[in-house]
């Protein structure tokens, strides 16, 4: 295999076993998996923010983001059933097999944002692709400044789902993740809290609808807004067209 991703499974999937299936919220299940071939498992390295192509035998293949951290986390996929292939995935039980190829895409550039505050903005199941990054940041807490997660969900049950268990769990993070309710009117106020002194320049990572950018805009002061060189994966129309 050539190219800068020596461990990536590019064209033909590798077989993986589903070790455990967990119900999350309505229509969403988490599938823990491990590769059948230990040598493949050894080579398979991911970066937060990447995705894989998951084959459900007999049904097809779909792209799915990786919610687990590159280190010290169990490989899993969290998938909402929305179409033919994801419905077929939801039929599978522990012991069933799937195909995985990847990982593909760019990871979040943690080196470039070292020492910065990190703001995550996501809505609903859009949090899943960010989970890997959030867990990574919590695992390397001293390398980053403040970590803010702005998250919208239809219910509190949905809110707690994606980070439950594992290193990203609120309890698991040693109480370092603190939920806060912020009404629209309080947004600017919330942003002012803490004073200018203890806030370094923000870097924001985003996933999901473009309206998230407007939310970031309403929460950050103009000089904190991410610029062209900041890390907005997929925000550019040009990139999205490919």
């Amino acid at each position: 295999m050539s190219g800068p991703h020596p461990g990536a499974i590019v064209t033909v999937p590798e077989i993986a076993v589903i070790d455990e299936v967990r119900e999350e919220i309505e229509d969403v299940r988490t599938f823990h998996f491990s590769f059948e071939d230990p040598a493949v498992a050894e080579r398979f390295r991911i970066r937060s923010g990447q995705f894989v192509m998951c084959t459900v035998f007999g049904a097809g293949e779909f792209a799915v983001s990786l919610p687990f951290s590159p280190e010290g986390d169990r490989p899993h996929l969290s998938v909402r059933q929305v179409g033919k292939v994801t419905r077929a995935l939801h039929e599978l039980r522990a012991g069933d097999k799937i195909g995985i190829r990847g990982p593909f895409g760019n990871g979040f550039p943690f080196e470039a944002i070292k020492g910065k505050n990190v703001v995550y903005v996501a809505g609903g199941i859009g949090l899943i692709p960010l989970r890997s990054s959030i867990v990574h940041v919590l695992q390397h807490r001293k390398d980053f400044g403040r970590i803010v997660l702005i998250y919208g969900s239809r219910s509190s049950k949905e809110r707690d789902g994606p980070l439950r268990g594992g290193p990203g769990d609120r309890a698991g993070a040693g109480g370092r993740v603190r939920p806060a309710r912020v009404g629209a009117g309080e947004q600017r106020q919330a942003q002012g809290r803490g004073g200018q002194g203890d806030r370094g320049p923000f870097r924001a990572c985003r996933h999901g609808r473009s309206s998230s950018r407007a939310i970031i805009g309403s929460l950050l002061a103009p000089d904190e807004l991410p610029g062209q060189d900041d890390h907005f994966p997929n925000i550019d129309d040009e990139q999205r067209g490919q």
Binding site: M1, V10, V82, G241
Partner: protein
């Protein structure tokens, strides 16, 4: 450089056929459009034919192909995946400069970026390429506007340039040299390079009078598309004329979008098929759950031209994504082939300048 008498072309093809599957331009028994196809009999090769109706894209990236098969038995939970065997090396004879440039674009898409597509690589492996300089343009051509002709610049083992009853044979690789020696070709002498240059210059000079169907002065339009300076109503105007038939993508030497589908058979067996896709199809951007972020055709149409002409794409292909073959203009029932779209956008620039 060597001399290849036109009478010896068949011998060259036969020599290559020993170790390769042959592909080249052919014309049916009743005439009609030349096609770039698999050739069993080297005598069928027609190097003098006009630019083929289809580009050679299908040789390396078939319209539809099985890329693997698998079997999964839910009872025993046995899974196996089988990748199809390697194909025989291929020789492309008589590929035009535009189409060779298109092939190099496909290389950069499938092989030259972060990942290597193994299926494409197997098609491309050990390929022998004999390119053919267009010593006169065809009516649809505008390769001089896209820097992809009329003479091939790179990526060939042999480049032929017709001069009277013979070809100037230029070896681009050691493989090309070896074939010349094997065929016992005569050296073309010290004036060959100058003769080739005169021939190519004469071809370029003919574009004004003979390549009359299309002109596409794309550089200003590239700038415009890159900067996003094109008004929505221009894209709507273009989108309104699109029949969403996908023909432009299918005849484009550089279009590389595909869809992958698993076709299930009995006993848990399935074939994974890869087939050409087109951004003009509504289903192209439709996601699971039926959400379609680019449902209006103009939203997908502008992407096609973005893909061909924007700077960000050019950085990936190391050139514009259009090679000036003019095929999309020929096949488009809505008159929105590349050169027309370039004209609409340039007209808009002129109007804006006049304001």
């Amino acid at each position: 450089m060597y001399i290849l008498p036109k009478t010896q072309v068949r011998e060259m093809a036969a020599a290559l056929a020993a170790e390769h599957e042959l592909y080249g331009p052919v014309v049916g028994p009743d005439g009609g459009e030349p096609m770039f196809e698999r050739i069993d009999d080297p005598a069928a090769l027609r190097l003098d034919a006009a630019i083929p109706y289809n580009p050679p894209k299908h040789v390396v990236f078939p319209q539809s192909e099985r890329i693997m098969s698998y079997r999964y038995d839910r009872e025993s939970r046995e899974a196996s995946i089988v990748r199809d065997d390697l194909v025989k090396p291929k020789a492309l004879i008589g590929i035009r400069a535009c189409d060779l440039t298109g092939l190099l674009c496909l290389d950069r898409f499938f092989l030259g970026q972060e990942y290597v597509d193994e299926v494409y690589r197997d098609h491309r492996r050990k390929m022998f390429i004999v390119a053919n300089t267009c010593v006169r343009p065809f009516p649809q051509c505008f390769c001089v506007c896209t820097d992809s002709g009329p003479a091939p610049q790179e990526g060939y083992d042999v480049a032929l340039t017709a001069v009277g009853d013979r070809y100037l044979y230029e070896a681009g690789t050691a493989k090309g040299e070896a074939l010349a020696r094997r065929l016992g070709l005569e050296d073309a002498g010290p004036d060959a390079a100058a003769l080739k240059k005169r021939t190519v210059d004469a071809s370029i000079a003919r574009f004004d009078a003979e390549a009359t169907e299309n002109k596409a002065w794309i550089s200003r339009v590239m700038n415009r598309i890159t900067m996003g300076f094109i008004a929505n109503d221009v894209w709507e105007y273009i989108g309104d004329q699109c029949f969403e038939c996908g023909a432009c993508s299918f005849v484009c030497p550089t279009c590389s979008c595909f869809n992958v589908e698993d076709v299930a058979g009995p006993g848990g067996r399935a074939d994974r098929l890869r087939a050409w896709d087109s951004c003009s199809f509504e289903g192209y951007t439709r996601m699971a759950g039926d959400h379609n972020p680019r449902k209006p055709v103009e939203d997908r149409r502008n992407k096609r031209f973005f893909c061909k002409l924007s700077y960000s794409q050019s950085k990936k292909y190391l050139r514009p994504g259009c090679v000036g073959c003019g095929r999309c203009v020929r096949v488009c029932p809505g008159d929105i082939g590349m050169s027309n779209v370039v004209t609409y956008i340039r007209r808009e620039i002129t109007k804006a300048g006049a304001k």
